[in-house]
């Protein structure tokens, strides 16, 4: 049985190939609207990996400043999911076009997650063909398990 992955990215067209590659190894659930993530996690708590884009529209009801007008929505989401992620020991990959990964890393460091639980990957340096292997490696690092 394939491991379940939650893939959160508002861009459907441009992420089609990432999902296509992931589907070789994972059972992928896609979410385009960041506001829907909580509802999905409430009803499905068996995701073994969460992949989050960083730049996404700010969900309705959330102050634009909380997500830096959408530039940090993925970080905001990660912060909101901290408790869930820690409790279920779910590895996370922040998969982004942003080049300032050092700034992202500083933000993640302040969230007090488990060591190495969150990995930051740039879409340019981790292209679609390599994404699956990166995901497999990360899942194995955080929660060593047999994965198909």
């Amino acid at each position: 049985m394939k491991a379940k992955v939650l893939f959160v990215d508002d861009d459907r067209y441009f992420t089609e190939r990432y999902v296509r590659q992931l589907e070789h190894h994972f059972d992928v659930t896609r979410i385009q609207y960041a506001g829907n993530v909580f509802e999905v996690l409430d009803s499905h708590s068996d995701f073994q990996l969460i992949i989050l884009d960083v730049m996404m529209p700010t969900p309705d009801g959330i102050a634009a400043s909380a997500t830096a007008e959408g530039r940090d929505t993925g970080l905001w989401l990660l912060s909101e999911l901290r408790a869930y992620i820690r409790k279920h020991r779910v590895p996370v990959i922040l998969y982004t076009n942003r080049s300032d990964t050092d700034v992202i890393r500083d933000s993640v460091a302040r969230m007090n997650l488990l060591d190495d639980q969150c990995r930051i990957c740039n879409k340019r340096s981790t292209p679609a063909l390599e994404l699956s292997q990166v995901c497999l490696d990360h899942v194995a690092t955080v929660e060593p398990k047999e994965l198909s």
């Binding site: 190939r17 529209p57 909380a66 300032d100 340019r124 063909l129």
Partner: protein, 632 residues
């Protein structure tokens, strides 16, 4: 009631004192009202040999005269606290309001109501009696009014000076009446010194503000928000110190919106929930134009004050101090003005923001004041005017930084797709000896997105000097070029299909037009990509052309998030994005404005003809575009 002497010979002693008065004031180098006004009162005391001298200034916003200064020998600590409680400074409203010539009041204790034919009293007369005053004279400080003064709203920075000096005697015999013209001349000179004093203080504040701006505007930060935050903190500290006020909040316009949000504050709480607003939640503290006093100040560009205990003043958010809300305090609202060159449409606010100051302390009595002094208000207006361009600069930077991050993202995304697709192709092209259609379309579509983004960074299409006019078939040259890419994108983005009709194959097929193909293609692309992005999943986008008497119409229809009535008037504004669009996708908000300008370059139009169910945008190409020489 006695009047002052209209004319008499001055004694040598008096003449000498008056000459020394003029020499003293003319040689005085002004620094600030708080230092200069007591000096002025001292000069008057010496010239008139009075027991004490007060200076009054008129407060433009609270419409009251206020005791602003007294001479250095006046024992304020004893006389203004122990003997009686100094009333709210509205007391002298009627009396001083009317004077334009010196007025002498003798036998203060027996002074009766009557003056210039009207009933009014001097409400503080009892206090003067208690202080032992027997005679006093009040001289107006007059300065010329310019015609603009009557029509200029808000806080007048330095002109005209509306003030008065009153000098008091305990003993009638000490009072040496002087001619009106002598006293008026002294008043005019004093008014001039007062104006110079305001200006001197404003100049020193200007130095501080310029230093702040220099420091924070030029500082290099990864996120300039930090620089802006430091500037705002320093600005608030300056306002607190200069106005002797305990709490300050700065509100500024949300970009493209007719509302303000709180940028910085000494502390706020929600009056309903009584919960303190944290720094991270400050952007939720907003007022619409004309909502409450903040909104009114923002919309009208006019300052306002609310005095202590004013009724019906219940703002949504109030300042706190030491954790406790500051209720029933004096509050001042000062607009942050727009630049004089900025165009303001009738339905747009007249200012960019508001500075709200709360709970002033009186510089005279070292306690909470009932209002803001005239000098404080002039200072605040000056500070707001000087800070305005700096805050505007920061606002532009915020928008620019946001735009740059969107541009990077929107360029990086298709370029990554091109790279990834090329890598995909590399895995099979040797063996298959062909490229898969899906990958080919990915390459073409991604390249088109990247090119379109670069086009969006171009100046306004209307500024293109010479469009390249060539014979163009809307279907053959525009639709055909974009069709496959758009259909590929539409299918994968939202499972959308696109249906074209009316371009050809009927008796009214669309004739060739002489247009700039790149501009028209840009308009088509922007409209169709919008339609696809904001459509309901699985729906159909329709593109329908029809020939009418006056030209050609092309409608783009989609079933999707629609456009709200509130957004209708602004949707073509560069940079503006509707709320529902912002929830769906990030973007620059330039697509529709560019598309419209591209059509206008040809004398055509682009309009939103239906808001929703379906949303319809209509392009109109005038009939003369069928003529090859229309542009010559």
């Amino acid at each position: 009631m006695n009047q002052s002497n209209q004319s008499s010979e001055l004694s040598a002693v008096t003449r000498d004192r008056i000459m020394r008065f003029h020499a003293r004031l003319l040689s005085h180098a002004p620094v600030s009202p708080i230092q200069d006004f007591p000096e002025i009162c001292d000069a008057w005391r010496e010239a008139t040999d009075a027991d004490w001298v007060w200076m009054w200034m008129y407060n433009d916003l609270s419409c009251q005269w206020e005791l602003t200064a007294y001479d250095s020998k006046f024992d304020a600590d004893v006389l203004l606290t122990e003997m009686f409680t100094w009333p709210d400074t509205t007391s002298i409203l009627e009396f001083v309001h009317r004077i334009d010539a010196p007025v002498v009041v003798t036998e203060v204790e027996n002074w009766q109501v009557s003056h210039i034919g009207e009933d009014f009293g001097i409400p503080w007369i009892e206090q003067l009696v208690q202080m032992g005053c027997n005679v006093f004279c009040t001289v107006p400080l007059l300065s010329p009014r310019s015609p603009q003064d009557e029509t200029t709203p808000g806080i007048d920075l330095v002109n005209p000076i509306r003030g008065a000096v009153s000098f008091h005697y305990r003993t009638r015999d000490d009072f040496d009446a002087q001619p009106d013209d002598v006293l008026l001349l002294m008043g005019w000179l004093t008014a001039s010194i007062v104006r110079n004093s305001y200006q001197a203080e404003h100049r020193s504040i200007l130095g501080i503000l310029n230093e702040l701006a220099e420091k924070h505007l030029t500082s290099v930060r990864r996120r300039h928000g930090a620089a802006r935050g430091e500037y705002l903190d320093a600005l608030i500290a300056l306002i607190q110190q200069q106005l002797n006020t305990r709490a300050v909040s700065i509100f500024y316009q949300v970009p493209f919106e007719n509302r303000v949000e709180c940028l910085a504050t000494t502390g706020l709480c929600d009056t309903n929930a009584s919960s303190i607003i944290s720094k991270d939640d400050l952007s939720q503290v907003t007022y619409e134009a004309n909502e409450g006093l903040i909104g009114q100040c923002f919309a009208s560009g006019e300052a306002a004050v609310r005095l202590r205990n004013a009724a019906r003043h219940s703002p949504k958010y109030i300042e706190i101090m030491d954790g406790a809300p500051l209720r029933n305090v004096a509050v001042c609202y000062c607009p942050i003005p727009k630049a004089s060159y900025e165009e303001t449409l009738p339905d747009q606010p007249k200012s960019h923001g508001v500075i709200r100051c709360v709970d002033p302390h009186s510089p005279l009595r070292k306690e909470v004041a009932s209002s803001f002094s005239p000098t404080a208000l002039k200072k605040l207006a000056f500070i707001a005017r000087q800070a305005a361009p700096v805050l505007h600069n920061f606002a532009i930077r915020v928008q620019r930084e946001f735009a740059i991050s969107i541009i990077r993202h929107d360029l990086e995304t298709p370029l990554n797709m091109i790279c990834d697709t090329a890598e995909d192709i590399g895995t099979y092209v040797d063996s298959d000896q062909r490229i898969r259609w899906h990958d080919l379309m990915n390459l073409k579509t991604s390249a088109a997105f990247a090119q379109n983004l670069l086009d969006q960074l171009d100046p306004d299409p209307f500024e293109v000097a010479d469009p390249e006019i060539e014979e163009t078939l809307l279907e053959g040259h525009i639709v055909a070029r974009l069709r496959h890419m758009l259909e590929h994108f539409a299918k994968l983005e939202n499972d959308i299909s696109i249906k074209y009709s009316g371009f050809s194959g009927s008796s009214f097929c669309v004739p060739p037009l002489f247009v700039d193909r790149a501009l028209v293609e840009r308009a088509f692309w922007n409209l169709l990509v919008n339609a696809i992005k904001y459509s309901n999943e699985g729906s159909t986008v329709e593109v329908k052309a029809r020939v009418i008497t006056s030209g050609i119409e092309v409608e783009v229809k989609n079933q999707g998030i629609g456009v709200t009535p509130e957004d209708r008037g602004r949707i073509f504004q560069p940079g503006y994005r509707g709320r529902s669009a912002m929830l769906r996708k990030q973007g620059l908000g330039l697509g529709l404005s560019i598309a419209r300008r591209a059509m206008e370059k040809h004398g055509g139009t682009l309009n939103l003809t239906k808001l929703s169910d379906p949303t319809v945008f209509t392009m109109f190409f005038p009939q003369y575009l069928q003529n090859a020489r229309w542009n010559s």
